[in-house]
């Protein structure tokens, strides 16, 4: 039987599948379907220092093989998370990753400090939310921005630190290198690509926010490319995500260079998708006599 365990930045995961931030809330809704311990980890909905109401609806639009969302970081704030959500989630037997977004570097540092004193396993620095001006994306576009915010948070963060990168840039691997240089323990990519749909009947953008973040199978080839480029550029682990919907996609993402992967939009199409992905992945490893899932990482043989 293949060993499905991976270790990212010193944190042991039972398997390489992590629920992506914003798609699994704080876990409760999917715990209805299966014990969360089947998942390697969960990246919680992006939290901010204070509660945020989120963007006006509509917040969701469908696109060919994808969706746009403009939730806008609706969340109850870090204190509520620590008090109400984390204790329950931490008991479910899965790695808990806090995804944090902020308006200012101080916001990020303040949150990192509070979370450092909590039972959270890992912090994911979200500097790539395209849907709110105050969602940190201003820190995520340039290398200097990434390096700067990562370095500041690093000083306040005693937990393993993963930086989540935006694909809306010219060269994501450079931003990954900047995060690495500033002390990140891992990078995760990709967040959503900014997109837009217009209702031709009303002539209104479908999303009230006008634009939103594209996710789902449509972005998968872009994500694979970015993970591949990034895995060549940095030494820290790369956690790959964007459009993974079946076990074959997961294998492909790991071959491209991912040490673990996240699954997001696929939860919406099929809440059991993560279970099926893990089952397929394990069978694949067994059929090919691959002893450790970690052997897949970076296994692509470029031409």
């Amino acid at each position: 039987m293949a060993d499905m365990r991976v270790n990212i930045a010193g944190v042991p995961f039972a398997n390489p599948l992590i629920g992506a931030s914003g798609t699994v809330g704080f876990g409760r809704e999917y715990a209805q379907f299966y014990p969360l311990s089947v998942l390697g980890g969960i990246s919680c909905k992006g939290i901010t220092l204070e509660e945020r109401p989120g963007n006006p609806p509509p917040r969701i639009a469908e696109t060919p093989s994808g969706i746009l969302n403009s939730v806008g970081l609706q969340n109850p704030g870090v204190e509520h998370f620590l008090r109400e959500d984390l204790p329950w989630l931490k008991q479910q037997g899965t790695v808990v990753i806090a995804n944090i977004a902020g308006r200012t570097p101080e916001d990020y540092c303040d949150m990192a400090e509070r979370l450092s004193d909590s039972i959270v396993d890992m912090i994911e620095l979200n500097i790539s939310c395209p849907n709110v001006k105050a969602g940190g994306v201003q820190f995520g576009v340039t290398c200097e921005g990434v390096e700067n915010i990562t370095a500041q948070v690093r000083k306040h963060c005693k937990k393993p630190l993963m930086v989540k990168l935006s694909p809306n840039v010219a060269d994501i691997s450079e931003n990954a290198a900047a995060a690495e240089a500033a002390g990140a323990d891992a990078v995760s990519l990709i967040n959503t690509l900014t997109g837009m749909r217009i209702d031709i009947r009303t002539r209104r953008p479908v999303l009230h926010n006008n634009t939103g973040g594209l996710s789902g199978p449509a972005v998968f080839p872009v994500a694979v490319r970015m993970v591949w480029q990034t895995a060549h550029r940095v030494k820290i682990p790369v956690v790959g995500l964007g459009g993974i919907s079946c076990w074959q996609d997961a294998v492909e993402m790991m071959l491209a260079g991912a040490s673990a992967f996240q699954v997001g939009t696929a939860f919406f199409t099929d809440p059991y998708a993560p279970v099926k992905i893990l089952k397929g992945l394990e069978e694949y490893l067994n059929n090919h006599s691959i002893a450790n899932v970690t052997e897949l990482t970076g296994g692509v043989r470029p031409w």
């Binding site: 209805q32 609806p57 969706i67």
Partner: protein, 256 residues
């Protein structure tokens, strides 16, 4: 288990109007969990998002849906035939109140808003009236089902080709009732809610919003609600609704 996925064989398909059809599926796992006014998320092959469809009827081991073709997803759904199977996530959300203590209830539906009310009307044990609004005579659906459920049925049509010539509120004004359940287009719900508020009669409305997860995880299906203190916040149709007390809906839909 509150909700789950079941692969449901289609037992019957019936065309109700030019663009509305009824599907009955076998759902031995889900049907016993379902309550009137809850909804399902039905998977459409090739689409990333499921389609939210209200549960119109609940049998011991069957569920019934009434669907209008609006776009590609419902078009595809309209093509299923007995023998095909549907991947259904249900039952979701909070339906209409289970026991309404009031004596006289009115069920106000507009167009494709009519089906979600049928279960609640069936379950209500007091004196019941249905006010059902449609574009025209050809668009009328489920009138007989409401009669069979024990309702006095009033129709209203935009063009006067059946029943009252005008909006459902035109009929509603003429009725006396102690509680109201409504589902339909936003302007209709708003008008019904205003009328009930004026009469100080409790009013329950079933809301729609674009959804992703359907279970409360993604925060996609936001709708502006009032807190008891009068401030606004975004609740979620799939988890907090789809049925809300009308008084909680911030009809202007803007959070300050």
């Amino acid at each position: 288990m509150k909700y789950d996925i079941e692969i449901c064989p289609v037992l019957a398909r019936q065309q109700l109007t030019a663009d509305i059809f009824s599907l009955t599926v076998s759902a031995p796992k889900l049907a016993p969990l379902a309550k009137a006014g809850q909804f399902a998320q039905i998977r459409i092959p090739g689409k990333v998002l499921r389609r939210p469809i209200s549960i119109c009827g609940i049998g011991p081991d069957t569920l019934r849906f009434v669907v209008q073709v609006r776009g590609e997803g419902t078009q595809q759904l309209s093509e299923v035939r007995p023998g095909d199977s549907l991947d259904i996530l249900a039952p979701l959300g909070n339906g209409f109140p289970q026991q309404m203590a009031e004596k006289r209830a009115v069920f106000v539906g507009g167009g494709i808003g009519v089906p979600p009310l049928l279960g609640a009307a069936t379950a209500f044990s007091g004196e019941k009236t249905a006010v059902l609004g449609f574009r025209s005579r050809e668009a009328v659906i489920l009138a007989d089902d409401f009669t069979a459920a024990g309702c006095r049925v009033h129709l209203a049509t935009d063009d006067g080709s059946a029943g009252f010539h005008g909006l459902v509120t035109g009929v509603l004004q003429t009725l006396s009732f102690d509680v109201c359940c409504a589902c339909g287009p936003l302007p209709m719900l708003r008008a019904v809610a205003a009328l009930c508020a004026e009469r100080k009669v409790p009013c329950w409305v079933s809301m729609e919003q674009r959804m992703a997860c359907g279970v409360g995880a993604c925060l996609g299906c936001a709708t502006a609600l009032y807190r008891p203190d009068g401030s606004q916040y975004y609740g979620h149709v799939c988890k907090d609704g789809p049925v809300f007390p009308a008084s909680r809906i911030a009809w202007e839909q803007g959070v300050q």
